[in-house]
Amino acid sequence: MLTMTNVKKIFRTDLVETHALKDFSLQVNEGEFVAVTGPSGSGKTTFLNIAGLLETFESGQYMLDGNDVSQLSDNARSKIRNQKIGFIFQGFNLLPDLNLFDNVDVPLRYRGWSASERKQRIEHALETVGLASRQKHLPSQLSGGQQQRVAIARALAGEPRFLLADEPTGNLDSKMAHSVMELLQDINQRGTTIVMVTHDPSLAAEAGRNIFVRDGQVSELHEVNTFADVVNG
């Protein structure tokens, strides 16, 4: 599904060069639920951005769904993001002026689907996250957990094969966080590949596989429930 080989990413300013990823190599198979952990500044989010085709990189190779996406044009990357990748962010990133229906509609607008098809998919996505009855509400009328559910519905509505989540529970209390995790697991069980960046060991433990990133490289790979061992050294 996703294969990165020796990916190198450098952020440059006039004064400083930061090597965010150094020979970063990783493979994620179809249907996996992978949690990516690591200390702040280790390169987790940079990896996620490159995986989501939001960032380019200096060298290395990135194969997505069997295709080399390392050198694609900006337009081609937009198209792949729209059709194959769903994003979930820590801050939800809902548009405050749009109601839930219209928020979920955002990625579908760029898909070229008819209004009726979009409507059907939006209603199904909102139903999946348990918010079908509130589609006319504005995000500000919802709790944090509900807003993240809307963000998940937005990511799911286009039926992506690959879901990228960056600290999806970072702004939620533990009860809401577990509820969102249950939802993600449910989505994963239906066949969507998920890569999730998190700081929370207990949430990482609920993923199928853990990856620990340190200094821009994959430090170690662990199966379920071994994240705590890595943290403890």
Partner: protein, 437 residues
């Protein structure tokens, strides 16, 4: 997608009403100032008689001082003498012709309740009405016999007919003017000629007159000269007739020539007339006679005043300044939307999608600014009306073409102003914004 972008643009306006309204105000002020001056220039320079402006010619004869031209560098006087006007009329060498002048007199209404009042009179020949497509409500103009016989007839304007006769058909009725009784032979429909090209010497933007009568009556009734009079030597004799037959110029001469052949023939006639007059001791300067069609004559007389053109350029520069302000405000607005733009880019919007969305948003601001600018332009035009009174009445209205120009100008200029901010919005790096939201 256009409707979707339009809806997003409206939402964006509502989200930042103050910033958006400032942009609308900047565009509105620029458009308002521009459209005020464009309207004034447009009306000043428009063709007042498009069907015939190529066939109506103003006659200039160089009867001036042999030692200096009437107008530098070597131009003939802009009017003709009574002698030349009447001679040219008698010659009847054009398809139609009318010498003319402005005079004036006191109107004494029959109704005793109304006070006498001063009015302008246009002295002309019978062809005047056909030459200038003058519309009639009742009756018609007088015929050439009335010119020859110096009949005491008048044509009156609709407004004058309303004032004196309550709007009824007054043909055949009598009106007392300049101390004499005249028979009304015709009543005009509403007739506004802008610019009033047939006599620019008394103001190209004056109203058309309320009374028209045969010009030969000037001599028999000793009617005053209300227009410009220029002389290069003293009259040979004293008195009204001495002045009338002097070398002073006070009369406009218009001819209607249907094609180039007629124009060349008439020009040849003018030159031979000048030669003939030279033989009689007049026209001491070399032949320098001219025929100018309507637009040439208006250009020659700078009907569009230089200061109006300067105002136009100043207002265009003001629009530019307003647009530069709009660029700054748009940059501020779009930078505030970096989070939304990043989100849209992340979920699949291409740069083109983002560009189009913001172009529509800019266009919406432009259209609203244009509409508000039209309101300001109306205010500006009515301000000109207040400042200049009747003189500017005809200059202070906008036709549908000008409204379309205003909206088009607003749309194009706002989109031009929005190009850079819109382009910048497509360069937002989504990854840098999404984490911070």
């Amino acid at each position: 997608m256009f409707r979707y972008y339009l809806r997003l643009a409206l939402l964006s306006y509502k989200r930042n009403p103050i910033l958006s309204s400032l942009m609308v105000l900047a565009i509105a002020m620029g458009i308002g100032a521009c459209m005020t001056t464009i309207t004034v220039n447009y009306i000043m320079s428009s063709d007042p008689i498009p069907q015939k402006s190529e066939q109506l010619f103003y006659v200039q004869l160089d009867s001036w001082d042999p030692n200096s031209p009437a107008r530098e560098p070597n131009d003939p006087p802009d009017q003709v003498t009574w002698t030349d006007a009447t001679n040219l009329m008698k010659a009847k060498q054009a398809f139609r012709q009318s010498a003319m002048a402005r005079s004036g007199g006191v109107v004494e209404p029959e109704n005793g309740d109304s006070k006498p009042f001063m009015t302008d009179i246009r002295l002309a020949y019978s062809d005047f009405f056909a030459m200038f497509n003058v519309p009639f409500q009742y009756g018609s103009g007088w015929d050439s016999q009335s010119d020859d016989n110096r009949d005491m007839v008048v044509v009156i304007s609709r407004a004058m007919n309303d004032q004196l006769f309550g709007g009824e058909n007054s043909v055949g009725k009598t009106v007392r003017l300049a101390g004499h009784n005249f028979r009304v032979v015709g009543v005009l429909k509403e007739w506004r000629l802008v610019p009033r090209f047939y006599d620019v010497t008394t103001g190209a933007f004056d109203n058309t007159e309320d009374f028209y009568m045969p010009m030969p009556l000037k001599e028999s009734l000793e009617l005053t000269s209300n227009g410009n009079v220029n002389c290069w030597k003293r009259p040979a004799e004293d008195g009204f007739l001495g002045f009338l037959y002097s070398e002073c110029v006070n009369f406009q001469m218009w001819v209607e020539l249907r094609d180039d052949a007629e124009k060349q023939a008439y020009m040849a006639f003018l030159n031979s007339y000048a030669d003939e007059q030279r033989a009689l001791g007049r026209f001491e300067r070399p032949n320098n006679n001219r025929l100018s069609n309507v637009m040439e004559w208006m250009a020659y007389n700078n009907v569009v005043a230089d200061d109006a053109e300067i105002m136009l350029w100043l207002s265009l520069m003001f629009l530019l300044v307003c647009l530069l302000n709009t660029i700054g405000l748009l940059l501020a607005k779009f930078s505030g939307k970096a989070g939304e733009i990043s989100l849209r880019r992340a979920v699949g919007a291409s740069r083109r999608d983002v560009f189009m969305q913001h172009l529509v948003e800019t266009g919406l601001i432009g259209v609203i600014g244009g509409i508000a600018g039209l309101g300001l332009a109306m205010l500006g035009l009515s301000g000109i009306g207040v400042l200049y009174g009747d003189l500017a009445n005809d200059l202070t209205s906008m036709d549908p073409k000008l409204v379309a120009i205003a909206l088009g100008l607003a749309l194009v200029s706002s989109i031009l102003a929005g190009l850079y901010p819109t382009w910048r919005s497509t360069r937002v790096a989504p990854a840098s914004q999404l984490k911070s939201q």
